[in-house]
């Protein structure tokens, strides 16, 4: 049985889709079978970020409405053969995403894949709540910036109340992924500190992704950043985050701080 992960944030533009694609590719890189599901019906973009936009035949709404089989809607990545994408519908209304339909799709994906990564839309509406509904693990993507932290706090509240796990009285495993971290601004003291964000949200840290041109470049060419240039700083950070997801205890280094000496002092215990 695979693990269902929701990548969520509340706020838009913080890097949910980028992170979903990058983590999905990083996990599939070791041969794990991964599917990344776009829940943003009407405004899909995961296909574009993963470079599969020209090959979309059917989407999740087609599957839910019985117009296509799940296997027909899945798109296999051209670079990694264990990486798949289930696109959102671009033309349909998001009301076509029914709770029963989503439940069936997730159950089917869970039995066929090691990892089911649900890329949540922004906001707290239907798409977002359905994306988190069946999750075993939640990744809360946050920028070191006041409105993003506030929205993340709101999303954490929803994860603890509106998910199946929460309703069954279980604890939802939550991880913080701090993205667009700018070492230069941090050094100047113009950015919320990692510790501040961790203290406010009080969930364990999965990784810190530095602000980087490599992310933009990867999306331009339609490749998860972990596949576009595996040696770039954000790719390395995502690969490490993926290892932590798999349970490895890997200390998190803060971008911009020297690894050796400072890393030993400030290196945080991973989630």
């Amino acid at each position: 049985m695979g693990k269902v992960i929701v990548v969520t944030s509340g706020k838009g533009g913080v890097g949910k889709t980028t992170s979903s694609a990058a983590l999905g590719a990083a996990l599939a890189h070791n041969g794990d079978k991964v599917v990344v599901v776009d829940f943003d019906v009407g405004l899909r973009n995961l296909d574009l970020v993963m470079g599969a936009e020209r090959r979309v035949v059917y989407d999740i709404v087609n599957v839910i409405q019985g117009e296509a089989k799940l296997t027909q809607a899945l798109i296999r990545d051209k670079r990694l053969e264990s990486l798949y994408l289930l696109p959102a519908s671009q033309t349909r209304d998001k009301d076509n995403l029914t709770p029963e339909g989503v439940e069936k799709v997730i159950a089917a994906l869970k039995s066929a894949f090691d990892w089911v990564i649900c890329d949540s839309p922004a906001g707290i509406e239907r798409g977002a709540t359905l994306a988190m509904r069946h999750a075993d693990v939640a990744i809360v993507v946050t920028n070191p910036e006041v409105s993003s932290v506030r929205d993340s706090d709101r999303i954490i509240g929803l994860l603890d109340s509106k998910t199946l796990k929460a309703e069954q009285g279980e604890r939802m495993e939550k991880h913080l992924l701090l993205t667009r971290y700018d070492p230069i601004r941090a050094e100047r003291g113009d950015m919320l500190k990692v510790d501040d964000v961790l203290e406010i949200l009080s969930i364990p840290l999965l990784g810190i992704i530095p602000e980087s041109m490599d992310v933009l470049r990867a999306s331009n060419v339609g490749s998860p950043v972990t596949l576009a240039d595996g040696r770039s700083a954000p790719a390395i950070a995502y690969f490490e985050a993926a290892r932590r997801l798999k349970g490895e205890n890997l200390p998190v280094t803060i971008p911009g701080e020297k690894k050796g000496f400072f890393g030993k002092i400030f290196g945080r215990k991973a989630a």
Binding site: E53, R54, R55, A68, Q72, S219
Partner: protein
């Protein structure tokens, strides 16, 4: 390896982004008025086939690739030996 990285980095990615968006948006704008030819063909081909045999969704694979000048549509169908009889019986 490092040299290779510097080399690949020197190529700008913006032209690729522009080209991908142009192709994608051309197709998406066309599909708003339900006039996307590839989608139309896909549906009609499947409808035509279902007239003659019961379509088993697991045995039909549809692939599309939307290009700037040419799009491709590949419909791959397994036709069982007794497909016709089954349809008549049904």
């Amino acid at each position: 390896m490092n040299f290779l990285r510097i080399f690949t980095r020197s190529q700008s990615s913006a032209p690729a982004a522009r080209e991908r968006l142009q192709v994608l948006l051309a197709h998406e704008r066309a599909s708003v008025g339900d006039s996307d030819l590839v989608t139309k063909l896909r549906d009609e081909i499947l409808r035509a086939i279902s007239k003659h045999m019961q379509i088993d969704d697991d045995r039909v694979s549809v692939k599309m690739e939307r290009g700037a000048k040419v799009s491709t549509l590949a419909v791959d169908i397994e036709i069982p030996f007794d497909a016709e009889k089954k349809k008549k019986a049904a």
